[in-house]
Symmetry: C2
Subunit: 208 residues, 2 copies
DNA sequence: GTCTATACCCGGATAGAC
DNA sequence: GTCTATCCGGGTATAGAC
């Protein structure tokens, strides 16, 4: 939809949202390094000056994308973590969903992990990591029998695992074909189950 | 050391290595997005044309850095995986070393995971992932009693975990102070032990 | 193997008209 | 809220001299 249209030219349209949409499209085609406000403007059929009515600068566009990414990803994760399965399977399902999200919304995911954006400078993103992690917390607490510190460790391990599989998937370690996504997602889920099974090693010094 | 020196100006010096060194320094200061051959040249006190005698283009510099990264990282990992501890602890130590490497050689690590470089277009890097994973293979095989497929799954899980913790460390999830590195490295090691403990869930469909 | 010089293109950002 | 026009800085890459 948002490729060659440039309807009759915008003018009073929802340029702000259109910029974000087109930025996602552009990043999908050329990667983070290929993103520029100028090219986005060109694709929308507006001049390079127009977006500056809606965004202070380039970074604010990226921040807008990052916010979208956090919203959507944490939403997906919460949905997975909240159903009626046993808690360890809710964690596994959330990890699987995490990996799928990275593949299906590659641009958004990349903004989150590889934009070079300083998240601590944008209030809405300051707790981005926290919001992602929070989605895993409830089942983790159940798994850990209410031990909050143990649950936090487990959440960190699950997030790291999901992020790790996502990274490997995106850089081609699972191959290029369509099966790669499901293979990575499934293995991530299995890894989370393994973490839960062996979780005694997560908390203690794991002697021996 | 390599900042304002520009000795008496190079001329017949080892410019190729110097470019790589300075690129690492520059990326350390400004991140991947801040890297340019022009700035590297300036810092070395040579003209922007000089590096082109040693590198076909910008990407070839990045490829050179990536190759260094793979060499150094896989060397570190092999050293950890080859000592006399029990195999599960060799895996854990390698994961810990992986995370430390990401922190101590941040620039190199970022080139590896976030340069946007198409590794499949550079022969020396085509099997970069394989060389990293290979460092984990021996202890994984022992852990898995010789089952090659199970060992491969375990290696993937360990690499993903290490990469995940490294990513979280670098984007600030473990805080900014010096303790962050050791905290992340230690938790990564623990997570690997947990994976080994619960590794039955990695291979099978993990019913129930 | 490096320098001088240059051609070329692109992105960020702003002023002022409409 | 967008356009026109423009400034400014910067990066990539090459040709030809030394």
């Amino acid at each position: 939809m948002p490729k060659s249209p440039k309807r009759e030219r915008y003018h009073h349209g929802e340029l702000k949202e259109a910029v974000l949409d087109t930025a996602i499209e552009l990043i999908g085609e050329r990667g983070m390094a290929g993103f520029s406000l100028a090219e986005v403007s060109r694709r929308l059929g507006v001049t390079v000056a127009a977006p500056y009515r809606h965004f202070a600068d380039r970074d604010e566009v990226l921040a807008g994308l990052a916010l979208r990414a956090v919203d959507e990803l944490s939403g997906v994760l919460r949905a997975q973590a909240a159903d009626s399965l046993p808690p360890r399977h809710r964690l596994a399902a959330a990890a699987r969903a995490f990996v799928r999200f990275a593949a299906e919304h590659r641009s958004l995911y990349q903004v989150l992990v590889a934009s070079g954006l300083d998240k601590s400078r944008h209030a809405e993103l300051r707790d981005a990591g926290g919001r992602i992690g929070a989605a895993f917390l409830d089942p983790a607490l159940v798994v850990c029998g209410g031990d909050a510190q143990a649950a936090q460790r487990l959440v960190t391990a699950v997030v790291a695992t999901a992020q790790g599989y996502a990274g490997m998937l995106l850089d081609g370690s699972f191959g290029q074909d369509g099966q790669a996504v499901e293979a990575a997602a499934l293995q991530a889920a299995h890894a989370v189950l393994a973490l839960v099974l062996g979780r005694d090693a997560l908390t203690g010094p794991a002697a021996g």
